[in-house]
């Protein structure tokens, strides 16, 4: 809890620092603050406590996810040191907004009350609407911000309607009460509850970019500044999934809603992977692949299995690790290619900088789910859950789609390991970036070999 306060204060402190002193110390202060928050989270590890009259609970689940969120944010701040080195405007605001968004993320990892869920999501999202438009002079950035905002607000409307209907049926916002209510009421018998559940899930599905609520994701990923894209695809996604699962974990889902989830999983898997096949812009590719990963994660939701949170946690953590690293590599290559984002900018990466290329390869392989990387273990566990919960055909489809996924990741690897046609500029790798990339690259392998390191 104190961590939450610390984080809120941290954002304000960063804003002040932006006014008074140089930009140089922003990131270090931010990182220090985050690390302090990390310590605070870790300090009362395994200490369950319900706070504020049962609005939030920092149980192991919430704490683990919060920890991942903070760690990833630290990595992103490290990246930011280089990323913002040449930017003059609004750096402090960017950092502060990220921290605020993180607060929202932490809140939705730990909510036990629908009011908190709603507020947390808004706190998570509103800074992001702004951050997506962070490059004020860039048309693409503006478009991204607007699309994100518009669709986000639209989806919020559905989410709210859902929450209202659930309240109408159960007369409570408290998760435990709703669970209890759902346990004693006949499945799907209550139409208000069913509709409410449906609309709430739709609103949450929007946040995790599940089909058909994914439309914002490719455009926003592409238009937003790279650092923000990385933030969205890691911190935001992780938090949103944590909230999603927290919401449905103990509610007795009516069969109809479960069917809906299955169909959504299938759609998401299909669209994300298939459309990614033809992407040439790396960020867009990552957006669609992120949709695809949403599909795999949704698969883990189906059915009830005590292992789901662990799988979710591992999957999201390793996914975030690989994604952060890749976005940094993208930034480096993009700089060398004068702002181009096509995947061909990776061409000859192995010749230009073997170590970066190998790290990038490891991260891509991890996303693709090749053995001995974390991505494999993650996918494997998802498949186990899928089949164990009886969704054999859905899992088979997911396996097929995993193959499609491998294809587009492999295309990127292929570029990196093909000698370039013409001379392109050398990569200028700042030591801090090198460090983060290496950490991520080594991380996905280490977690792939010792999966036990990352668990709730």
């Amino acid at each position: 809890m104190s961590a939450l306060v610390l984080l809120s204060v941290l954002g304000v402190v960063l804003l002040y620092l932006g006014l008074f002193s140089g930009r140089g110390i922003l990131a270090p202060v931010g990182i220090l603050g985050l690390l302090a928050a990390l310590v605070l989270f870790a300090a009362d590890w395994h200490l369950e406590s319900t706070l504020f009259g049962g609005l939030v609970i920092f149980d192991t689940y919430a704490r683990s996810f919060s920890l991942v969120l903070v760690v990833v944010t630290v990595l992103l701040f490290l990246f930011g040191m280089d990323y913002y080195a040449k930017v003059r405007e609004n750096v402090a605001e960017h950092y502060a907004l990220m921290v605020f968004s993180l607060v929202g993320g932490v809140l939705i990892c730990s909510f036990t009350n629908l009011v908190m869920l709603f507020l947390g999501i808004e706190i998570l999202s509103i800074p992001l609407y702004i951050l997506a438009g962070g490059k004020r002079d860039s048309f693409r950035s503006g478009e991204a911000a607007f699309k994100y905002f518009l669709q986000g607000a639209f989806a919020s409307g559905f989410l709210l309607m859902g929450l209202a209907l659930i309240y109408g049926a159960t007369a409570s916002f408290d998760l435990a009460a709703i669970e209890a209510w759902s346990a004693v009421t006949a499945n799907g018998g209550n139409m208000l509850f069913l509709l409410g559940l449906f609309l709430t899930l739709a609103g949450l599905a929007f946040k995790v970019a599940a089909v058909p609520f994914h439309f914002w994701s490719p455009d926003v990923y592409e238009g937003a500044p790279t650092l923000i894209t990385a933030f969205m695809s890691t911190v935001v996604k992780t938090a949103a999934f944590a909230a999603f699962y927290r919401f449905i974990a103990n509610i007795q889902l009516p069969g109809a809603v479960e069917n809906m989830l299955v169909v959504m999983t299938l759609f998401t898997l299909f669209l994300g992977n298939i459309v990614a096949l033809r992407q040439t812009q790396f960020k867009r590719l990552m957006a669609y692949s992120s949709i695809a990963h949403t599909g795999f994660l949704l698969l883990a939701f189906l059915g009830t299995d005590g292992r789901t949170p662990d799988v979710l946690f591992y999957y999201l953590g390793t996914y975030a690790l690989a994604t952060v690293g890749l976005f940094i590599v993208l930034t480096l290559a993009k700089r060398a290619a004068l702002g181009d984002e096509n995947i061909r900018i990776f061409r000859g990466l192995f010749r230009r900088d073997p170590w970066i290329a190998i790290a990038a390869m490891l991260m891509l392989l991890s996303l693709a789910g090749i053995p001995l990387t974390a991505g494999f273990v993650a996918k494997y566990r998802v498949f186990v859950l899928g089949i164990a919960n009886g969704f054999i055909w859905t899992t088979l489809f997911a396996v097929l789609m995993a193959l499609v996924g491998i294809y587009y990741y492999i295309l990127v690897i292929r570029e990196a390991f093909t000698p370039q046609d013409q001379e392109s500029k050398e990569l200028a790798v700042a030591p801090i970036n090198w460090l983060v990339i290496s950490l991520c690259g080594a991380g996905v392998v280490a977690l792939g070999v010792w999966p036990g390191l990352l668990r709730i």
Binding site: L114, V115, F118, L119, E122, I126, Y129, I130, G133, R136, F139, R140, G142, E143, A144, A145, F146, K147, F149, L150, A153, F154, S156, G157, L160, M161, L163, A164, L165, Y167, G168, A171, S172, F173, L192, P218, D219, E222, G223, Q279, R284
Partner: protein
């Protein structure tokens, strides 16, 4: 007096409120999809939120539970924040493309 209020509330069946709310919500939804002027789209979003507020208040009255009203209060808060951000994004957009037409925003695609 109390009895009067109860009668007043109970004479209007809850279904009516739910339906009215759905109707307003749907109109808002249709408007969001229907209009090109972003500022009107924003207004339609407000309409959606308000229909939710109405619904919550109705439930609150039927459940005699003030929490829903508190939630409405928070929704208003968020709506205000959202509108501010939305309008400022709109201003930025107007500055960039000199238009508030949603269809102008179509460069990111595929």
């Amino acid at each position: 007096m109390e009895q009067g209020i109860i009668t007043a509330i109970r004479t209007v069946p809850l279904d009516h409120y739910v339906l009215l709310s759905f109707l307003l919500f749907s109109i808002g939804v249709a408007g969001v999809v229907f209009r090109r002027n972003t500022i009107i789209i924003l207004m339609c979003v407000e309409l959606m939120l308000n229909s939710v507020n109405l619904l919550l208040t109705a439930f609150s009255a039927y459940h005699s539970d003030p929490r829903a009203q508190v939630f409405v209060f928070f929704i208003m808060l968020v709506a205000a924040a959202e509108v501010t951000v939305g309008l400022s994004i709109l201003v930025m957009m107007k500055r960039n493309v000199d238009s508030v037409d949603v269809n102008q925003l179509n460069r990111l695609k595929g």
